[in-house]
Symmetry: C3
Subunit: 339 residues, 3 copies
């Protein structure tokens, strides 16, 4: 949807410097942008691309204005301004309401008239699909599941266990919500399944990436609060609680009954053991394992640095013998004193 | 299904202390339970909840009886007793037999009359679906696959490569069984695919979690023995062997031709390299990498402890320079001798 | 397809020693092979199986000929020779052209007459499906997606975001191509979605394993070059570039805008942070985290060795106190000088 720079500046709350009548109709990188396109500069690494950009305008911060030869939209948070501008210039088409004739919908399910249900979907007894919801092709909505207004299940999404999905939730292909938790009791060396009877509650404005999984609680519910963003291939076990506005990157695994605070970030590949608590505003760096509760805000890490394999092999031998090295140092200290 | 405490005590082999005529009809946590509900205490962390529980009865161990103000079912293994009681009070409904009219079933496939096949399933030539099996919606059963009695494929499960699935097997949504193994030969810097011709054999009473994958063998079969329990997003490569009653938590990856013993546990995020053997009764802690065979029972670990990032950075520098530190200690030892 | 050893030797460019009229019709391991079957020896670990093999012939290297009691096909690269022989003896059946009547295909999509589309597939507006392509059951092909000749989507594959898939590409069950990247801008402690507008380009002869995910670019495309091989449950974030003939094993995660060179190998469970570059011919060992750019070929590692848990616990304490140990050594050095 084309907009003048003047309109855009008003909508994203930026200060325009340049001709407000110029029209832009799409976004692009500084390098790729051409006439009618809007660029942005949020990462200083790309500042040198300003000089040669052919964008019609650029969103950037005050400190970069002087490097930019084309009209600018100045804002304190250029990345957020860009996000908003991109959403305005590239609005999602509302899904056309309607139910594909192939969809298998139980008579007792309630599908709002404004919702869209695509081909080969299954919607079971007692499910409720809210206004303007889009259930993409091949999705399975289990008994008594509710999906709030304007949520979108892109394709091949499964929601079971009476889960309640909030409004404006976005579930990407292959997501599974409400699968059984991994609950077993050992009896004479064999595993007896512990029935998984809880549900899943997902707040508003949550996004969950492709092929991620969220198990139902064992008794109480697994809970994901408002505004949580989850990337692809993340595993959330039974009875996990994730506080509002926390972001979880790809390939993270969170074990049962772990409680993650609000406004946390878990970088890619992080693992969290079960039954621990993480405070609000905690940040975990990539591939770290959280083995105990964290009671105060801050950034936490684990792991060893990358080395050339030949050198790493020598280092690994020494890691195994750290106790020996420590004993040798203690021995030296004793000898030193005796001299 | 409501039961009296007397009936329940008999069925789970627990000792009743209290009024045997009291009826319970569902399970709940000590904190949430109300009248007609059965609680349990398996983790000492929750003992203090006994005092205020409103459960009609509680399953617990002898040592906790004195803390409990309501009737109790006493057993040596309260968690196992709870698992059994929960299964009795919340029995799974048997699936109604029948084939959804949309299912695409090859004429040469054999589906038992007591089985259930849901909407949008594909069952190919020569497949055999046993008694009381439930094939959930959107599942794909490849040629000559067999699924044993009372197994349940919850939804959107794919089984290929002539795989043989045992009885009472539970496959959660998104599971893929029998995909090609990652077999390639390098020829002049390019990868030539090695045809994957083996199959997958899965024993009885196996459970596999959402979006987990089990590749077919390259020539011989990938084998998962009876009673193995596998969590979500686990990857089992070609020709892996997993011994009976082993449990594998979420996000584990097992490389080709690894052989895992019986009664092992692999915690979340563990990785196992290819072509190694792990003995029976081996336990691997979370996110450890198993790089060589383990020939005796026991618990094994790898990884570094979680630290505040600022401190971890200093520590990481030292990890890279362990060889230098070791040389300095050796030098000191030499000097000390010469003094 | 049965072949004589003479024919086979010619086709795989091996030297035959033995009766060229012998016919083989399938491949097997040295241990399992019987009459009419072809074995191979590529891993010295299995050499002792030669003596007792009942294979009709064996593919092996010159150095192993003297251990083999049956006819041999001698080649410098027995594993590559085997791969080729297996493909000749076990050719994939070409899929029968045709569109399953249940498939939901938009009128403006172009499906080549020689292509096959299985049950419950969705093909949206403007998509183009090339010659001899096989779209397996339950797959979803989004708007304007193109799939090149002879590619095969095994089952339940999702391709969105106008992605362009090359020729002879093999996508295993559960693969998702073109899901939204994980792009968010923080505004007042909440996450604002950054519209994901780019696409995905996948070259020829690429293979992607079960339940792997490849996100669309934010603005520019995510690119996977020719001949790249990707195993199961791999996550490729937005705007990643993967150079030709690179192989990526299971459970790898690659963060946004990372650029991986050609002819690289990433072993299982590796993680790569975003916005870095890895040169051609770089090899990363299992479960290592790549935290910075790598500018020259070679092998790189991270992680700690596996230890018995009791010993690892002591070692972990020392890892946390490496700075203290280093200070003690420095102190000793100072004292030594002063003596």
């Amino acid at each position: 949807m084309p907009l003048t720079l003047a309109e855009l500046a008003g909508r994203i709350n930026a200060e325009l410097r340049g001709d407000g009548d110029i029209v832009v109709s799409s976004v692009a990188t500084l390098q790729q942008a051409g006439a009618g396109q809007l660029g942005f500069l949020a990462n200083p690494k790309y500042r040198r691309q300003l000089a040669t950009t052919r964008a019609s305008a650029v969103i950037l911060a005050e400190k970069d204005v002087r490097f930019c030869p084309v009209p600018v939209l100045v804002t304190d948070n250029p990345y957020a301004g860009y996000a908003l501008a991109a959403a305005l210039l590239h609005p999602r088409r509302s899904p056309k309401a309607g139910i594909h004739p192939s969809a298998a919908i139980n008579a007792s399910a309630q599908v709002d008239k404004s919702a869209r249900v695509d081909a080969f979907c299954v919607i079971r007894a007692g499910a409720r699909i809210g206004p303007r919801v889009h259930i993409g092709p091949g999705s399975v909505i289990g008994e008594k599941v509710t999906v709030g207004a304007e949520s979108r299940l892109v394709a091949r999404v499964t929601v079971l266990a009476h889960a309640r999905i909030g409004e404006r939730v976005l579930l990407h292909p292959g997501v599974v919500i409400g699968s059984d938790g991994f609950g077993m009791a050992e009896v004479d060396g064999q595993w007896r399944k512990v029935p998984q009877l809880g549900s899943v509650r997902i707040g508003d404005d949550v996004e969950i990436g492709a092929n991620s999984t969220v198990d139902r609680g064992a008794l109480d519910d697994t809970v994901i609060e408002n505004g949580v963003k989850i990337d692809n291939q993340v595993q959330i076990a039974h009875n996990v609680f994730i506080g509002a506005h926390t972001a979880i990157a790809g390939c993270v695994g969170i074990s049962g009954s772990a409680r993650i605070g609000r406004h946390c970030t878990l970088a890619g590949g992080v693992g969290v053991v079960g039954h621990i608590e993480i405070a609000d505003h905690v940040h975990i760096t990539g591939m770290s394992m959280v083995t105990r509760s964290i009671h105060r805000p801050g950034s936490w890490s684990a792991g060893t640095p990358l080395m050339e394999t030949s050198r790493w092999r020598r280092s690994a031998v020494l890691m195994k013998q750290l106790d020996k090295l420590a004993r040798r140092v203690a021995e030296l200290e004793k000898n030193m004193e005796n001299k």
